[in-house]
Symmetry: C2
Subunit: 453 residues, 2 copies
């Protein structure tokens, strides 16, 4: 067998619990603070935006949280997702490395996002909610929540970052096919959107602005809540089905990763694949290298500050301690729209601060080069976000070749690029450029961080 | 369990043989004739366009033909494909019917096409061929062959029907990402293309024209062969992995279909799912209803003539006996580009003539309505071609409701619609129109049929 190998699990191996890394951390995570009082928030503070079951998960310290049976029933449609040994890619690179990828693009939305979208829609439905508002960058999250809304009979209202709305018109059509509403952000629908437009009429938007708009639309209606596709603890939690499955699949392969790699935007795809492995390490298991890959144009982990900050631009959200470029920072409009976020999941930030994660940043052209190489070897066109992980995996595999060592490299191929062909078109035509962040703008945004005692 | 159910097979259950229905037919299929002499063609006549292994399969009467191990190794990446019991759709329709769908969209190309693309690329590589030319309608087949070419190190040259080339620019980017060349047909590259353009400078193209161009480009170079994505016996053969898997999956479900439904363009997706079931029936098994669904605007089976005709417009191919609208007929530019073919697979035509298949035609708007309903229930956006099967399956399920009977309905969901969002956009905006064929043009094309003794 020299061809690409698939490691398949049975449906009964779909995890029955989400794994909560908080139980294994050396210290509790810093508390979430009220934006006004700077005191730790309680469940009542979060109740206008999230259902109670989600709030409980957000602050839980239990190691295992049971996955409701109706959520597992839906997971069954595409889970367990396959783990592949990329033998054709290994051969192309002529590397002694053993390259594995977990493929989340098999979900109906084409990414890992339904793992949490289905769960969040379920809890909202259970608590009698009629409508969920949200933001989306590249459109992966909005697509996933639109599908979940169709399954549970919930209205979905998606604020899509304007640059992505324009770059990827078919993502809007995708969401609308499932009955969702999709609005380019910043919009005239909200005070937050109007404020941004008043100052910057040509704003290309940002995840921070879109979050403000979605939160605003949720709090103004009793039958409406808000859902976030990344960053928060409960989202990291829901995504751990990825890593838990990967651990079992490595058993089947009779192997164990030396390195685990994933792109990081808000952090959920990274947490999803790495936290279960990190948990094993924290409980005395094998020590492995975790590489978080981010875009050079939005270098949250590699250039940001670890501080309390807002999750959104209009400062409607609570304060969380995370790596941030400042909540007012608007990253340039590169193609990996899912990674255009000023902040980072507090849990991913915390384990990075603890020295358990090595962050790394890449420019987009080198990521697309890696994506094309991967596609030719493995037959799958990765999403621009996923290309960041592919780049790092190929670089690690080439380092193995240089050093003449065989290491097991696992990366999370978090989504396919079927809706990102304009980016590939630009790349094929030599029109894709690397974009630089603005040092001054980041400094200004960081200067505006709230001062928390 | 009231949710959608997935019936999963183990990798070892990927079929080891392709099933050849010719072995079970009451009479041998009519021979393929030389376009000049009208005498049955021999292997030497086909050698300039196909590798010898494929030619042998084209005329084989063996019931089982072994799948080469390297082809099965690649199939393993996505096969066995899932069979779903669409319980959410059943609930939405409030029907007593048991609706099942086999989902081929899990392949890297997003359709059933790689089942034969991988096999054909393998045989060409084995015989020392460097380059394969082909045609594509909606782009599904060209995409599949592009991936197969990347895997086996073969150059791929795709003539894409112009209307689809314009409707689906991202299909071209998809093929080019895998290193293939994609040319809008009719083109200036070939005599066949130039002849069409001289007469109809605004020609939107057709599969018949694109086939002429691809065949012409293959015969003019020794290191180049041609590959067809449907119609021919060896393509039907390769697609039978679909139905063979479905039979085993129905065993798991402890059920057996009463009706099997699939869209028909060239016929390979229909043959792929139905022939293994039909074979069981012909060998004395349960008699089931087979429904072939075609577009009303290109009604090959429901309005065409069963006669010898050319596979292409420029009359470069041999003559095959099939249902045809005449090789010069150019169907209107509806969105299911994969179904815009004047002819039909000779084997599908033959079993239809034998009364074993019920053909049915639908207009595109009602197909998109069905596709939207299916997406909301099952989370998958079908390709426009696949929507024809979805429409028929929903209609059969509603008939069960009317009649108060529970029947098992199986349809082949042959591909996802991720590259067809412009069609969904038009549908959502109320801009999608039903297109009619031109009675006079068909009559004219049929009047031009070759007279075969």
């Amino acid at each position: 067998m020299t061809d690409t190998v698939k490691y398949v699990l049975d449906e009964k191996d779909i995890p029955r619990f989400w794994y909560n890394i908080v139980a294994d951390l050396p210290t509790p995570p810093p508390p979430v603070l009220h934006p006004g009082t700077h005191q730790p928030v309680g469940p009542d503070d979060l109740a206008p935006i999230f259902p109670m079951a989600v709030i409980e998960q957000e602050v839980s310290t239990e190691r295992e949280i049971e996955i409701p049976e109706p959520v597992r029933d839906i997971y069954r449609q595409w889970r367990p997702s396959p783990l592949y040994r990329a033998r054709r890619l290994e051969k192309m690179l002529d590397t002694p490395a053993r390259i594995y990828y977990k493929y989340e693009g098999v979900s109906p939305a084409g990414s890992h996002k339904p793992n949490t979208a289905i769960a969040q829609a379920f809890y909202n439905k259970q608590e009698g909610i009629k409508r969920i508002t949200t933001e989306t960058g590249a459109g992966q999250w909005g697509s996933a929540l639109s599908i979940a809304g169709a399954f549970f009979g919930l209205e979905i209202e998606v604020f899509m970052v304007k640059v992505s709305f324009q770059q990827k018109p078919y993502r809007r059509s995708f969401m609308e096919t499932f009955g969702a509403k999709c609005i380019a952000s910043p919009s005239e629908l909200t005070a937050s959107g109007r404020a941004v437009l008043a100052e910057h009429p040509d704003s290309t938007g940002s995840l921070g602005i879109a979050i403000s708009e979605a939160v605003e639309r949720a709090v103004e209606r009793d039958d409406t809540k808000y859902a976030l596709g990344s960053v928060l603890n409960h989202v990291m939690l829901h995504q751990t089905v990825i890593g838990q499955e990967a651990i079992r699949q490595f058993d089947l392969a009779d192997d164990y990763p030396d390195v685990v790699i994933a792109p990081t935007g808000g952090g959920s795809n990274f947490a999803g694949i790495t936290f279960p492995f990190l948990g094993e390490q924290l409980r005395g298991g094998k020590s492995i290298e975790l590489i978080a890959v981010e875009p050079s144009a939005c270098p949250t982990l590699t250039r940001g500050q670890y501080a309390y900050d807002f999750g959104d631009t209009a400062h409607l959200t609570p304060l969380v301690k995370m790596h941030t470029l400042g909540s007012t920072y608007v990253p340039p409009g590169f193609h990996a729209g899912g990674l255009r976020y000023h902040g980072m999941a507090p849990l991913v930030s915390m384990v990075t601060e603890l020295g358990l994660v090595k962050p790394r940043a890449y420019h987009q052209v080198q990521c697309f080069e890696a994506g094309l190489q991967f596609a030719k070897a493995e037959g799958i066109i990765p999403a621009p976000e996923a290309n960041h992980g592919v780049r790092a995996a190929i670089d690690e595999a080439l380092r193995c070749k240089e050093e003449g060592v065989s290491r097991a490299i696992l990366f999370n191929l978090c989504g396919h690029g079927n809706f990102d062909m304009q980016a590939y078109r630009d790349f094929l035509d030599g029109k894709l450029m690397d974009l630089e962040y603005d040092e001054g703008e980041i400094a200004m945004a960081l200067a505006g961080l709230p001062s928390v005692a």
